[in-house]
């Protein structure tokens, strides 16, 4: 492979206005590898960022309460999350536009605004949970959150203000790579292999179906497949200007991200389980890190706390961007990370306001942060089926997608997912309306 810069035409275009820059490689495998490396990003980021602060909390709680018994649910969510995001890949590449723009244009103004309000509401509450996690982790690290939280918010603003999609993507992919430290944490904790094997097979934990179990299952689903992911990845693909030829690499990017996010989720569950096996009970992951530190040492404690902050930072940048992109698409404002602030002020203001307001709320003393975290995951789980229905309708729009529209097997898989998600949200409704519907323990 050489680093030579060549001038070459874009494939499939008859008229060219400006030359393009490319790299020359000598073999087909190098071409494929380099193309993948150029395309990778949106899928990886959306999936890894999905393991945000709320996810750390939910998975570790699942491990703490049920050991590895719920591992099979997480594994089952791997194809679910991939299938849903793969549809977004096709939609984004075929239209070159974001998800909010698609809903607005194809379903009309009213539906577009309603979807936007839904998204902005859940996104904002989720952002509060991200900063809540940063606050908790900084506290345990001995850093004053009144200094650390605002500094994190400023850092999160700086990474998008460079007017370069590529610069933002490189920084975020680097942060995603740090998430691999969860594998080291899980390996060090030496989870019992037979527990993991047994947990990988479908089964109900001891105690049967209880209200806390159902609430946790819905929270797991809500944190693994969240509505903001649909909006984020499609807008990200549009901003990166992925081409039709990139579809297979974008799918691979999404699959890679899905595999990493599910594996990391399992590692978080293992950490929660390890804490339980040593007789600890915790109310938040920062406390879990402190508990694990008592038998794992100070380095392990600090590593888990830093991973918690990293998860929150990744979640914040992705969720805030999904809000900013969606708002810009619906309002018709310029909305690209490639644009400087003076050319897309609305886009950057929405991003900055989302980050600043969420950070500000967290600094309010005695806010019930753990409750907000759990509530948001459940809310996301409840809102997801309707978001997927819009996606499903768009993916069956042959006028819009042509050959990229859903095939019958796609529809079968997606309707199955929608039915299961609706069933879970109905269970939640039953649990809330009839508190004795499931035993409490």
């Amino acid at each position: 492979m050489t680093s030579k810069v060549a001038i070459a035409p874009a494939p499939g275009l008859d008229v060219v206005v400006t030359p393009v820059r490319g790299r020359v490689v000598k073999s087909a495998w190098a071409r494929d590898l380099l193309t993948f490396l150029m395309v990778v990003g949106p899928g990886l980021i959306v999936m890894v960022a999905d393991n945000d602060a709320g996810a750390v909390s939910t998975y570790s709680q699942a491990g703490a309460q049920y050991g590895a018994h719920l591992l099979w649910i997480v594994l089952l969510l791997l194809p679910v999350t991939y299938f849903i995001q793969e549809m977004v890949v096709r939609l984004g590449i075929a239209t070159g536009q974001g998800h909010a723009a698609m809903i607005y244009q194809r379903f009309g103004k009213w539906w577009g605004l309603f979807s936007l309000v839904d998204l902005e509401l859940v996104n904002f509450l989720t952002l509060v949970t991200e900063f809540a996690a940063i606050d908790l982790a900084l506290n345990k690290l001995g850093v004053d959150p009144r200094i650390g939280v605002p500094l994190s918010a400023v850092g999160l603003m700086i990474i998008v203000l460079t007017a370069s999609y590529r610069r933002w993507e490189r920084i975020v992919v680097f942060l995603c790579s740090l998430d691999l430290a969860w594998f080291a944490i899980a390996l060090w904790l030496r989870p019992p292999a037979h527990d993991l094997l047994r947990g990988s097979l479908p089964g109900i934990p001891e105690g049967g179906i209880t209200a806390p179990l159902m609430f946790l299952v819905i929270a797991i689903v809500g944190t693994t497949v969240a509505p903001w992911q649909l909006f984020f990845q499609q807008s990200c693909i549009a901003d990166k200007r992925l081409r039709f030829a990139d579809v297979k690499w974008a799918r691979l990017d999404t699959l890679l991200g899905a595999c990493i996010t599910i594996s990391v989720a399992a590692c978080m569950m293992i950490a929660g389980n390890a804490s339980r096996l040593h007789g600890f009970t915790f109310s938040d992951p920062a406390q879990m890190a402190v508990d694990i530190g008592t038998f794992g040492g100070g380095a392990m404690r600090s590593l888990i706390l830093l991973m918690m902050i990293n998860a929150a930072v990744l979640g914040t940048t992705a969720i805030s961007l999904s809000s900013a992109w969606a708002y810009g698409e619906v309002r018709g404002w310029p909305h690209s990370l490639q644009l400087p602030v003076r050319k897309a002020p609305g886009f950057y203001i929405v991003y900055a306001l989302s980050v600043a307001a969420a950070a500000g709320i967290v600094l309010i003393p005695r806010a019930p942060l753990q409750l907000i975290i759990l509530g948001v995951q459940v809310l996301a789980g409840v809102m997801l089926p309707s978001a997927i229905i819009f996606l499903q309708l768009l993916l069956n729009d042959k006028e819009l997608l042509g050959e990229y529209a859903n095939r019958p097997w796609n529809n079968f898989v997606n309707w199955t997912i929608i039915v299961v998600l609706f069933a879970l949200s109905l269970i939640l409704a039953a649990q809330v309306a009839l508190p004795n519907f499931f035993p409490s323990a």
Binding site: M38, Y165, K240, R241, F244, G375, D397
Partner: protein, 80 residues
Amino acid sequence: MATIANTMDLENIKKNHFVVIHPLDDLPEEKVDTEALGPMPMTRTVKISLLSLRAYLILMVLMVFYHVVDLAGAFAKHMH
């Protein structure tokens, strides 16, 4: 075939060599003109289903809110 600014560079690329272009360095691709398509045609049944979905969603959001407030112990305080 595209017009290019400097054909010499392209000629310098040997046979069996490949050019890989980053999406952001490439020329914009022609996509579906979604604005020209206008709103998606929907039957009355689909419209009613979507409205029902919206009502269901609003109800569920209120229930989750109630549940979270209940978990926070807000209603227990009033009971006492």
